[in-house]
Symmetry: C2
Subunit: 205 residues, 2 copies
Amino acid sequence: MSASLRAQCVLLLGLLWSSLPAASSCRIRIPPHDQVARVARFVAHQCDWASMATISSHKPVVGQPFSNAFSVSDGPEGSGSGVPYLYLTRMEVSVQDLQMNPQASLSMSLAQTEYCRQQGFDPQSPLCAHIILSGSVLEVNGTEAEFAKKALFSRHPEMIDWPSDHNWFFAKFNITQVWVLDYFGGVKTVTPEEYFQATPHRKHH
Amino acid sequence: MSASLRAQCVLLLGLLWSSLPAASSCRIRIPPHDQVARVARFVAHQCDWASMATISSHKPVVGQPFSNAFSVSDGPEGSGSGVPYLYLTRMEVSVQDLQMNPQASLSMSLAQTEYCRQQGFDPQSPLCAHIILSGSVLEVNGTEAEFAKKALFSRHPEMIDWPSDHNWFFAKFNITQVWVLDYFGGVKTVTPEEYFQATPHRKHH
């Protein structure tokens, strides 16, 4: 292949690659697995959605666990707060559960990104880092609702146009315990204090 | 650009494209949203992992909902049974919950595939089809364990080498109720009978 042909192909390939949704995941750099709180903050910021477990308030499964998917954001790209914010409506089945019992659990996994596939890690492998947050879902207002709006709408622009008659409100996941599966040897726990003190990304000087 | 250059670039781009994990999702063809049971079977077969909600048996969250990620398979590619099979160890935190209370919920979303991103559907949009299974997790043996092994190991080859001292066993999710979010208008329910009678893929004649 001539140098000019190679150059033009590289350019074309570059353009195609940068146009793929998966491209951003090429930049995923997970913190070292022994820096557990940093890994937790990293996963919480990388994931645009989470699975939420509630105690069902709906027949025929009243009192049973119920798993459902929700979009989340802990802040605009690159400035995560660690707090998963949600945009909810009381018309939603899991949100109705939360009104009876606000206790919930959120799980987020790098299987939701291209990372685990690119690394060849099975979704159930501890190397395919995933976290579980325990706590409760609380409505937020005022300045925190403003931050939640910025966090969610910047990463989920479709939300801006969701039907207003659904009475959407902003909520946060109030974390009481963090569980991390990021390496062999079983689940590790992180306190909310350790979690919020951690810096998900290496600081640049 | 010369014809030969264009031809060679197209070839290169094709090779790159076909080498991407995302490529398979280009073939995703979801059944019509009003064929709810078919959509449920389709999502259950497309997803290689699921989020499982259990009632926690672990301090400090005993009795609270707990969400966690597990690899699943309802059958080898293209021949799904509708039954999500799991490969579990009693060393795992959620499996320990199940030993106290086998009631659980599995959620699977096309947000786990390239489909929703490619279609421009937010993970929380009902158009980003997701399903919730209610029921319980039961160990399987004999011929069903043989099918579970084929179903799981064909789609999760890494499992073959997981440490034998973890005493892995095969289990199935015994479905009592199916919840489907695949369009506007709220959650729809499907009975296990309707679910297992449905054909996820259009039959070829």
